[in-house]
Symmetry: C2
Subunit: 198 residues, 2 copies
């Protein structure tokens, strides 16, 4: 049977969401037909509003609805330490961990040869400007422990080494609560290499 065009159109958008396949998109679109009109208008407006109200903090590259992000705006945070991350979600992860109290700089990308993402795709101009205007005692590079993350970390470290006292990298090692025998060889080696005195 010929499908309704408006349903197909909606399914195509829904199928772009993470872990939504063709079949789920169909079920979702169908369920939306049974939603209240008000709920659909609200849904539609929430999408339209998303990028209009959220933008990138001009200082650090994190997401914000105000002029500066909540972190750059918080004078009680440690102004001497800067953590460089790849994406806003990394900031959220560290904030949820409630351990780190310094500032952040979000690159909004990684260097990836396979995906054709180069240095120009990173939020670096504002990083260099920031390091010139403010002296940080320590810059922690917190990109992912992947080839792309490592490449990015090395590039950034080289670029900023003369501008700060110390550049550090997150520790590699065993995962808390994990099992030694389920840990991959590379991580085990890194755990030994980075061993610390008790």
């Amino acid at each position: 049977m010929e499908k309704l065009k408006a349903l197909i159109r909606l399914e195509e958008s829904l199928a772009k969401l993470p872990s939504v396949g063709r079949r789920s998109a169909e079920r979702m679109a169908y369920a939306m037909l049974n939603m209240e009109d008000d709920d659909l208008v609200e849904f539609s407006d929430a999408i339209k509003n998303l990028k209009q109200s959220i933008h990138i903090c001009p200082i650090c590259g994190f997401l914000t609805e105000g002029e500066k992000c909540v972190i750059c705006d918080d004078s009680e945070r440690d102004q001497d330490t800067l953590m460089i991350v790849s994406f806003p979600k990394d900031v959220i992860a560290f904030e949820n961990a409630e351990y780190y109290r310094g500032l952040y700089h979000v690159l909004n990308g990684v260097i990836s040869l396979s995906k054709g993402n180069g240095v120009d795709d990173l939020n670096i101009t504002s990083l260099l400007k920031r390091l010139d205007e403010h002296h940080f005692k320590e810059v922690i590079i917190a990109t992912n422990p992947t080839i792309e993350g490592e490449t990015t970390a090395l590039y950034i470290a080289k670029l900023i080494e003369d501008k700060v006292d110390v550049v550090t990298r997150l520790a590699y090692g065993l995962q808390m609560g994990g099992n030694l025998d389920y840990t991959d060889a590379l991580t085990l080696s890194k755990a030994v290499e980075g061993r610390r005195k008790l």
Copy 2:
């Protein structure tokens, strides 16, 4: 950390989709932040357009984008047989099975005491009008084999018995490709009760 209001707002709409929990809604909303602006505008418009372009066929209660639905509009279908179903998705299921070639009437609801859905919530006025204006040789009641579906079927059957030659109900029995020993007792009893001569 305080969450961005525009993200929370979108998450609340996403969480209304079937089988999308709080955590999935969060991931989806975050992923949408990284979508192209054009894709978001299209998504938003597709939702807004949904109910504007799809409405209920005034004859049978099925969904349509035109004046009449594709089934009511198809003069080659068997005009003597009418199948009464609960929801548009039931029509789609029968059409996908490609067996039934008659017309449909969609109640757009079921009688459910627990949910407080009564007779007034069913698309019955147009059914009675239709039966008065056109003589059907057979009306098949195809509500779900559940308490709600059975209640609805009995109510409708009583209501229309004087207006048509025969009122029938879908057969109960074993599921094709199923196993006898995995079939519930009620279905097994119904399968024996409804046995047919070979």
